[in-house]
Symmetry: C2
Subunit: 461 residues, 2 copies
């Protein structure tokens, strides 16, 4: 873009959103588009609308000029969805950060897209309510970003992904049209449920500006146990029994490659002895400390009676429960032990997860001679994460590592992304992992809502 064209755009944007609403491309560059690497936000301009109407006007202006837009929430996504080109205009929702309403009776919140997940959790907690989506990046990640990417987290098997926790949505389409679908009702079959078209579309079909989210009563009881099992069969038996706990809130599996690293480097993170086939953190949350505790004890007793678990430790206090969670959340130790590594976020049928892991490793060894991995995840909802270290750290190596693991994903009918999304990072792999009819339908939908590909044009496909 020429300097004069840039200045004219700048002036017009300023007229729409005011001085506070525009950030120069120099100042924008101090922001990173990636939470783990420094990827400066080099763009034509960064606009920060203060309202849906302002945002609509900005998008309409960009659409009229064929100006591409990249939308920024908290920039905590790990699939490159926030990466920008120099020609792009960035729209940040950071000034639209009000919690408009928390209703304890109807159990919902009305929030602007720029509210952080943590701010929403706190506002809900202040009224005895609970927003079940929980992410490591919750202090920075926004609810708009969580909706755009259909964020997951640890408690999906109880309360679902972000999708299941959104009742209503307001969004701005690529031509500036405001779509207000701020439904507050659990059951509503009045026409197409448009929020489901927008959720998880990674900002390619519209920009989420506001949402009605579902809240649940804040749990008053929390139980946790850390157990080990000898084999894959026993892991499945454990999962089957755990699914009969209506209070089950997490089922986090760690395989030996993960647990050996963590428990060796920090003996405080070795709740049970090593040498088993898998390690599981099981958490339950409810509303009756006594009876929920009894049910959890009985669950553990059943497992012991049926010889399902090898060793087990129960978290008897909040502190102990936090310590058990710290075993599962040992990214720090993985970094110091395995870096550089390629991270995976795949979903696999629980029946074949063991052979899938073997097959992935075999393909990596075949290609690279050796590999070190750490494997863990939220198995109850099919999601496993793998950190794979093969030595060198170049883009070419990274793509080769991905190709090996995604080959195994294809063979086992899994998903190349469970919760992180496609973004720009996995875009090249998408077509071979979606049915041709799906790709055709996706193109038709995007074309219908954003014919000029104004929004996040390098994202997803």
């Amino acid at each position: 873009m020429s300097s004069s064209a840039r200045h004219s755009l700048w002036d017009e944007l300023g007229a729409l959103v005011g001085e506070r609403g525009v950030v120069s491309s120099e100042d924008a560059s101090s922001r990173s588009c990636d939470p783990f690497r420094t990827v400066p936000a080099h763009a034509t301009a960064l606009v920060r609308p203060a309202s849906t109407e302002e945002l609509s006007a900005v998008v309409a202006l960009c659409a009229a000029r064929g100006q591409s837009i990249v939308t920024h929430g908290g920039r905590t996504g790990v699939s490159g969805g926030a990466y920008v080109d120099a020609e792009d205009v960035i729209i940040s929702l950071e000034r639209m950060n009000r919690v408009e309403e928390i209703c304890a009776v109807s159990q919902l919140a009305v929030v602007e897209a720029g509210v952080t997940v943590e701010a929403l959790q706190s506002a809900a907690a202040a009224q005895g309510l609970f927003f079940p989506i929980d992410l490591g990046s919750k202090g920075t990640a926004t609810i708009g970003g969580a909706i755009a990417t259909n964020a997951g987290g640890n408690r999906v098997l109880r309360w679902g992904m972000t999708r299941q926790n959104v009742l209503g949505i307001e969004a701005v389409l690529a031509d500036g049209t405001i779509v207000s679908a701020m439904n507050r009702l659990v059951k509503n079959n009045t026409g197409y449920d448009l929020k489901h078209v927008l959720i998880g579309s990674e900002g390619t079909l519209g920009i989420v500006t506001k949402a009605v989210v579902r809240l649940v009563p804040a749990p008053s009881s929390q139980m946790a146990a850390f157990v080990s099992v000898r084999s894959h069969e026993r892991l499945l038996a454990l999962l089957a029994r755990a699914r009969q706990l209506p209070t089950l809130s997490a089922f986090e599996v760690m395989w030996p490659d993960y647990y050996d690293i963590v428990s060796t480097r920090d003996s405080a993170r070795r709740p049970v002895p090593t040498g088993q086939g898998a390690y599981v953190l099981i958490e339950a949350m409810g509303y009756d400390t006594e009876l929920d505790g009894l049910a959890f004890e009985r669950f553990l007793q059943d497992l012991s009676d049926a010889d399902v678990v090898a060793d087990a430790v129960v978290g008897g206090s909040n502190k102990q429960i936090a310590d058990l969670w710290r075993v599962r959340e040992s990214a720090d130790l993985l970094v110091s032990e395995l870096w550089p590594f390629v991270s995976f976020d795949v979903s696999i049928d629980v029946r074949v997860v063991d052979t899938f892991i073997e097959r992935s490793r075999a393909l990596l060894i075949e290609r690279f001679g050796a590999v070190r991995t750490a494997t863990f995840g939220h198995l109850g909802d099919n999601n496993i994460h793998i950190a794979a270290h093969v030595g060198a750290d170049t883009l070419a190596v990274e793509q080769e590592v991905e190709r090996c693991v995604y080959q195994a994903v294809l063979e086992y009918r899994g998903a190349i992304t469970a919760e992180h999304g496609i973004g720009q990072a996995k875009r090249a792999f998408l077509p071979e992992h979606k049915h041709s009819g799906e790709m055709a339908m996706m193109r038709r939908l995007r074309d219908a809502l954003d014919h000029e590909k104004i929004l996040n044009r390098n994202v997803m496909f």
Copy 2:
């Protein structure tokens, strides 16, 4: 259509689906498009493909000729979604009725669209699993129809609508394109989640041919109580406390206009005395008879201690629980007492449900001088049903009655249909109950996938 054109179409369809696959328009007329009235299926032809490929070929043929299609599942919908014109071709999924797989480990079923809800329930039960969508019409309603209309039922507050119980879908678009999105994973963010575009679109965006549905372990405990409360405030207090039961599976409210009719006409359906503000059937289901029973007793004790309920009866046996459900399922008595009546299926914020009911009645009385109503519903998920009798039974009167109640729905920001859908019956009311941006986005989506409006062209909008 001329007789020769009809014969040529007939021959071509026959060539695609074989003799068993085509039904003459005379034979089709013996079927009704409505479960409660006789509305003969007068159409050009009825086609019954035996496979997705046959169906795809039929749709492609129709698309090439600009031939309109109406899709038939079990024809149990009450919003006129299955009504046909003489010029239409009916596609029935009745021959695609195989349960292809039930997997107890992965907790899912793979079914063709023509499988009935009851057949799926039975196949799941045979493996210790449970399909939570339960409908009065389950013996006839098909899973394809349930998906197309996002069917609800009594247990939505625990397990969600049909939408929440579908993992994957296969469908044929209006040009014959097969979209296979037969996902089996709980967490999968690989591109747009196209099933959510198709679910609840009432057959206007594609024809569902197959699905992967989520199953849950079959509950082994069932508790139920029938209670009365004095006031709306106490009803809300009861709901708030019930939401802390992780085993809660139904919260069915009956208002005095309903309960007085039912309990007066059949004393066996009077578990508690009349004279209160509302009556509630509360059901819980779990996996531990002893502890679940204790939690349910404690719940009832809490209500009694806090003076929330006026009277309460507990179902102590399966027979007694069935008897309590019979009070809630007294459509037979409503018909004999109130017929003719107009039925409503609306959703309303629980905070204002009492004033909404009053306002609806006031508008009906203002318009008709008098009205008799029976009000009941699944309040936990906002859904209430009203049967309204004003005397005469003509189409004009019916529309006037609807206009009154939908006026109140508008004032209270409710939904004109919670679970029954728009179909042809509520089509005229849709635009004033959807935001203009929503209508615009709906039109763009439909236009993108079915430009010629081949599929269910008179449905929804």
